[in-house]
């Protein structure tokens, strides 16, 4: 999701000099985690849909094939990797800069909540100039990304519960055995795990669009911020979270 409607420099008329400054937002662990998690999520969605409904089948002797076995292997490894990124990310919630810290997970101040409304209106082309500018995530982005973390957490819990079924008494069975009964049965956990996958499929195009849109329209250098860690922002604009 993208924020901070910022006038492109050319809208001020060509040749008008505009000052830009560079701000550093995301430390390398955050960037690394973002891209590793992105790869894991793509892999999890693809393998997950296969496990949910195996649309390719093999013929011949079962001993010659291990299709579902391999797909599940990839799924489990990706899940483990995703959890590893989540652990690093959680640690960084406490040691990161103010854009990365836990306070940046939610609209924290009253002011942020009123800004949320302005940002929302901006996305619907209503008085876009009124929307405030944020260096890091605006309130709407905060809510969206934190919800996405929540979705991932639900899927990890339900997923580990199902994973634990294969080894009763093992670590996963003991640590996540409560998830199934809490939801009303393993099948309910399976159902949730399955439908929540669609959230990612819905999230991705919106995420791409809004991020790239901000770059194209407003020259916000959002895309590069998750690659290089920094953004170039107009020096003459006031940012709420500067």
């Amino acid at each position: 999701m993208e924020a901070g409607t910022l006038a492109p420099s050319e809208s001020l008329g060509r040749g008008v000099p505009v000052e830009y400054k560079r701000v550093y937002l995301w430390h390398w662990p955050i960037r690394a985690m973002h891209w590793i998690a992105a790869l894991c999520i793509v892999s999890l969605v693809v393998t997950g849909f296969y496990i949910g409904k195996p649309y390719f089948m093999t013929g011949g002797e079962p001993s010659d094939h291990f299709l579902m076995g391999r797909v599940r292997f990839v799924h489990f490894v990706s899940a483990g990797l995703l959890v590893a990124t989540a652990i690093v990310r959680s640690y960084w919630l406490f040691v990161g800069n103010k854009y990365e810290r836990w306070r940046a997970l939610f609209p924290y101040h009253r002011e942020d909540w009123s800004n949320l409304w302005l940002v929302l209106k901006k996305y619907f082309f209503v008085q876009p100039w009124k929307a405030p500018h944020y260096m890091g995530h605006n309130p709407l982005q905060q809510l969206a990304y934190t919800s996405i973390y929540g979705i991932a957490l639900l899927q990890v819990l339900t997923g580990f519960h199902m994973y634990g079924l294969a080894e009763p008494g093992g670590f996963f069975a003991v640590a996540f055995g409560w998830v199934g009964p809490l939801l009303g049965g393993t099948q309910i956990a399976r159902f949730l795990h399955h439908v929540l996958t669609w959230v990612w499929v819905i999230f991705l195009p919106i995420h791409f669009y809004l991020t790239i849109r901000a770059d194209v329209l407003h020259h916000e250098s959002r895309v590069t911020s998750i690659v290089s860690g920094g953004r170039y922002v107009r020096a003459d604009i006031e940012f709420v979270d500067d």
Partner: protein
């Protein structure tokens, strides 16, 4: 085939003596004890100990209550073409009260029940099949004019051990499925002051009941249970992990319809709704009817009958995912998901188009995208740019 009983196992007789009288050879008896050890997952080295303990057992008093149920469990446990020693043990122990099988009826049967409960207070084993309805003070089940709730409370009070047999006694089975009109619950919800063993399944395998009873008779205590009160020796592993079709699952070979080539080749039943991946039961190992076969062996997907509330969470039986909300979501979840994803892409495209139109109109009106009115002012967004109305229109 063993001899029919000429007279009941008397109180003075040990089980060993009684078996001998009915034509069970020492060899057969030891073999039976060995099998029980295997089922219980205890060392074969303990076979002599089990045999010794078992043959010295004096007739235990067992009361078998049948509450809200269909008698299927009784059939499953007691009826086989060729009675095994296991059946004998069960026949023997179910003497005091079993209202379907006992000769006495009416007041005489109820009198036998009360006599046994008083005489053996604190010492009898209570087997229960069937659930207990609670709605409207339990009037949906009465035996001899008393509600099931009263009967089970009274019987459990003096029991040494309570063994709940079958899905009804486990959690209420089909009568407790949404919307559960009679308010049926399992035995463990009524009897909370002592451990209740759940021999789960609809119906359960008779061997599991036998083995549990033998465990109690041998060791004087109930076997180890899982979180749902089911004996671990039987319900400790998932069907999916013991299934002979598992190789086909891992290979990616699935039955898609019941009459396709995969079905003929005994491929995995995952795609036709097998609940083996969510079900803990010894079916693949113990099997049914003297180890003849079991559902998946016969080409039918597992319906998950050993799991709590399987009528609600494992249905539809021939689909992978449950019908959680009760209006066919399982069939439509992917449809809705895909529709929402397509909707998201369409929404993105529409938003992009709207952005283009918005900008084009502003350009036409000669308004630069006036978010920040001038350079160097430092004033952020709120100040109104000229031509706001047009840009907003």
């Amino acid at each position: 085939m063993y001899f029919p009983s000429t007279h009941a196992w008397s109180r003075q007789e040990t089980l060993g003596e009684h078996m001998e009288r009915r034509g069970v050879s020492r060899r057969d008896f030891l073999q039976f004890c060995g099998e029980i050890c295997v089922m219980l997952g205890i060392s074969q080295a303990l076979t002599p100990r089990v045999a010794e303990a078992l043959q010295n057992v004096r007739r235990p008093s067992v009361i078998w209550l049948q509450l809200q149920e269909c008698t299927g469990c009784v059939e499953s446990v007691l009826r086989t073409a060729d009675p095994t020693i296991g059946d004998l043990v069960l026949d023997l122990v179910s003497l005091d009260y079993q209202h379907t099988l006992m000769a006495a009826a009416g007041d005489a049967a109820e009198a036998a029940l009360h006599a046994s409960m008083e005489e053996n207070h604190g010492g009898y084993i209570l087997l229960v099949t069937g659930s207990v309805p609670l709605e409207e003070n339990g009037i949906y089940l009465t035996i001899g004019g008393r509600t099931g709730l009263e009967i089970i409370r009274e019987a459990a009070e003096g029991a040494a051990a309570v063994i709940a047999i079958g899905a009804c006694a486990h959690f209420g089975s089909v009568q407790s499925a949404r919307p559960n009109p009679t308010g049926a619950v399992g035995i463990s919800e009524i009897v909370t002051d002592k451990p209740v063993v759940n021999i789960a399944g609809c119906p359960p395998i008779g061997d599991v009941v036998t083995a549990t009873v033998v465990h109690y008779l041998t060791f004087g205590r109930l076997p180890e249970l899982d979180g749902d009160g089911r004996p671990l020796f039987a319900y400790g592993a998932r069907i999916h992990d013991q299934c002979p079709r598992r190789a086909h699952f891992d290979a990616g070979q699935y039955v898609e319809e019941f009459d396709d080539e995969g079905a003929r080749k005994a491929w995995c039943l995952y795609q036709v709704g097998c609940k083996g991946p969510a079900t803990f039961s010894p079916c693949p190992i113990f099997q049914w009817n003297d180890h003849t076969d079991w559902p998946i062996g016969a080409g039918h997907p597992c319906i998950g009958c050993t799991e709590r509330h399987f009528w609600d969470t494992m249905t539809p039986f021939y689909k992978r995912l449950p019908d959680v909300a009760g209006f066919g979501v399982e069939r439509n979840a992917d449809l809705f998901g895909a529709a929402a994803a397509i909707g998201a892409v369409a929404g993105v495209a529409a938003h992009a188009a709207a952005t283009g139109v918005h900008r084009a109109r502003q350009k036409k009106a000669g308004i630069p995208l006036p978010v920040v009115p001038d350079v160097g002012g430092g004033a952020p967004a709120p100040s109104k740019p000229s031509g706001e109305e047009e840009s907003n229109g």
